[in-house]
């Protein structure tokens, strides 16, 4: 990468500070023209709507409605996506399962992002021993494979929806802390930070009100691309029995239950398609968001 590119990039973001509105509008125009990004957004919105509107989409309860006369039935007019081995409606479990898969996925990314913003912000802004401590901690968590560490935490705390989320948040924040720290190191040298200090703002206020808001753009892009990863991990953990415990519906858990029934394709195809398409939706949209916000690709 040549030097002038970085200089141009710095220039653009400097100009952006007084007029954030126009940058956002321009970015949105770029994304709206991108057909893949829009397709991704629509897919994600559809899955979210299905999860939120689950009680209106299906009259079956995902756990207690067991149709004893129709176990392992293929798609019919009464059970649009078929039933599982205990006669539970697959559409109902898919809709309510989306609440767990998408909900935990988004929650983990949000929590990881907030912790990362705070720790990475403190590390980059204060420097010194605190910086060393926080970043070494991030290195340590990074070294462990996410699934193995989450499995261990979940085995220690016991399997439950909340513990699965806690286990994932514990391993999720370091990526954000590293990125935010890098951004803060550059921002803290800028004039507007000196200006804030000159008017007598406290260090905490400068960090929270002046420095961190300027890191939000790249962090949001990272988070959008990361939600897919989080959904994949929730589903994976549930698949091997360390995430959402049965009989609760969750997409990965549904695939795990379907393993014994290779002839009943509706049991494993629908939840798999749900995970696959929602992750792809987030990736399509996240890619476009990154391209639109990154001045180098304009």
């Amino acid at each position: 990468m040549s030097i002038d590119v970085t200089a141009a990039r710095d220039d653009v973001s400097l100009q952006d500070v007084p007029e954030p509105q126009s940058t956002q509008r321009r970015a949105w125009r770029i994304i709206a023209r991108n057909r893949l990004a829009m397709a991704g957004l629509v897919i994600v919105i559809l899955w979210v709507l299905l999860a939120i509107l689950a009680p209106f989409v299906t009259r079956y309860d995902p756990i207690t409605s067991q149709d004893a006369y129709n176990t392992l039935s293929g798609p019919t007019s009464t059970h649009w996506l078929g039933t599982d081995d205990t006669g539970r409606d697959v559409l109902s479990r898919l809709a309510y399962g989306g609440r767990a898969s998408l909900g935990i996925g988004v929650l983990v990314v949000l929590a990881g992002m907030l912790i990362g913003l705070l720790l990475g912000g403190i590390a980059g802004f204060t420097g010194g021993a605190l910086d060393e401590l926080i970043m070494r901690l991030a290195d340590i968590v990074f070294a462990f494979p996410i699934i193995v560490l989450a499995m261990a935490v979940s085995a220690a705390l016991g399997p439950s929806l909340t513990n699965a989320a806690i286990a994932m948040i514990v391993v999720w924040w370091p990526t954000y802390a590293r990125v935010v720290r890098g951004l803060v190191l550059a921002i803290r040298e800028r004039e507007f930070v000196t200006a804030a200090r000159a008017v007598g703002a406290s260090e905490w206020r400068i960090l929270l009100r002046t420095v961190l808001p300027n890191t939000i753009g790249p962090v949001v892009v990272l988070a959008t691309l990361d939600i897919g990863n989080a959904i994949l991990t929730v589903a994976g953990l549930s698949f091997i029995g360390f995430g959402v415990p049965p009989p609760n519906p969750e997409w990965g858990a549904m695939i795990s239950e379907a393993q014994k029934y290779p002839d009943q394709w509706w049991m494993f195809v629908f939840p798999g398609v749900a995970i696959f398409t929602s992750i792809m939706g987030f990736n399509f949209f996240g890619d476009a968001l990154r391209d639109a916000l990154d001045p180098r690709t304009r």
């Binding site: 290195d139 193995v148 220690a156 698949f239």
Partner: protein, 340 residues
């Protein structure tokens, strides 16, 4: 700074990370709610205070936590990761037994993703915005969005259950085939050392689907990064100069551009190898592949903390070592990086 100073500095920096890693595994196995005594002793033994006392004394669990930590680290330094509660064997022996299968699977996965991803990424960049480029980009997006356990399940249901083309997802060899005597632990190599062609072909047959499934994500990323760095290099002045001098297009791509474009791809492949080795948990579970990940799920399910923490510790150490090697290679390969 010379390269050797750099390596020594990086090695010294590993010490605090290693201490942190052992502290983490220690806290999860000794301090978190799950009581190791409850997990290891049966219900009847727990009701007998003298048995509990003797057990705690034997494993040093009656000492204060800092002392327990020191005992724990001393053990690790001598290769002692404790006794597995479920297999009743030293965890280190278990890991030695399960690791070769993971090594075999992840090496095959990396090879597959490099063999397909590299040429695909290069072609995709050279034919930017043509049909092949669109297909390659779609393939890489699909690759990184597919849940590996779902792909594995679909693959074995279609290719084994319905079409009968591949063996069932149950380990490295058919049950009817006698495994070759263990020399390296890597089944393919052991078969070759034993001149056992039947077993070799069978093992290869068992390996192909799990390795492809595990490699799908890496394949997606490698294609993407290769395409990206190739495009960047192809746009640079020296490539234009080479073209202007009349160097044939094929030579420009293979001799001039590819060398520089490969640096990011190789860095990525190194890092991916580290996470393949440690992250094959889901693939191994789907295919009952007797590797570290399979061992981890089995032991974590039984709250076997010495075992699961042993796996976590070993994989973390492998990861940071591979990371270090990749960083050093990056500096060696890329003279533009200045060490300061």
């Amino acid at each position: 700074m010379s390269i050797s100073t750099y390596v020594i500095r990086r090695l010294l920096l590993l010490i605090p990370t290693l201490i942190g890693i052992t502290l983490t595994t220690f806290v999860i196995s000794h301090v978190l709610p799950a009581d190791p005594v409850v997990a290891s002793l049966g219900q009847r033994a727990q009701d007998d205070p003298s048995i509990v006392g003797r057990y705690k004394h034997q494993y040093g669990l009656d000492k204060p936590l800092p002392v327990q930590y020191v005992i724990y680290v001393k053990g690790i330094l001598t290769g002692d990761l404790g006794i597995s509660i479920s297999s009743r064997r030293p965890v280190m022996d278990d890991i030695k037994q399960y690791f070769p299968a993971t090594l075999e699977l992840s090496t095959a996965a990396l090879l597959i993703s490099l063999l397909i991803g590299l040429p695909l990424g290069v072609l995709s960049a050279v034919r930017r915005d043509r049909l092949l480029d669109h297909l390659a980009r779609l393939l890489s997006l699909v690759g990184i969005s597919l849940p590996v356990f779902w792909l594995g399940l679909l693959g074995s249901i279609v290719l084994w259950y319905h079409l009968g083309l591949l063996p069932p997802p149950s380990g490295q060899l058919d049950r009817t085939i006698t495994a070759p005597p263990t020399v390296t632990g890597v089944v393919l190599i052991d078969c070759l050392l034993n001149w056992n062609w039947t077993a070799f072909v069978n093992a290869l047959w068992h390996l192909i689907l799990p390795a492809t499934v595990l490699g799908a994500y890496t394949l997606g990323i490698i294609t993407r990064i290769t395409r990206g760095s190739m495009l960047e290099v192809l746009g640079q002045d020296y490539v234009r100069t080479a073209r202007a001098k009349g160097v044939p297009p094929r030579t420009v791509v293979s001799r001039h551009a590819l060398r520089n474009a490969l640096i990011p791809t190789l860095t990525l492949a190194g890092l991916a190898y580290g996470s393949l080795l440690s992250g094959a948990v889901l693939t191994e579970t789907v295919f009952s592949w007797p590797g570290l990940g399979y061992y981890a799920t089995q032991t974590a399910g039984a709250a076997d903390f010495p075992a699961i923490m042993g796996v976590a510790l070993i994989t973390a150490v492998i990861y940071i070592i591979i990371n270090l090697i990749v960083d050093v290679l990056y500096v060696v390969l890329n003279p533009q990086v200045r060490l300061n």
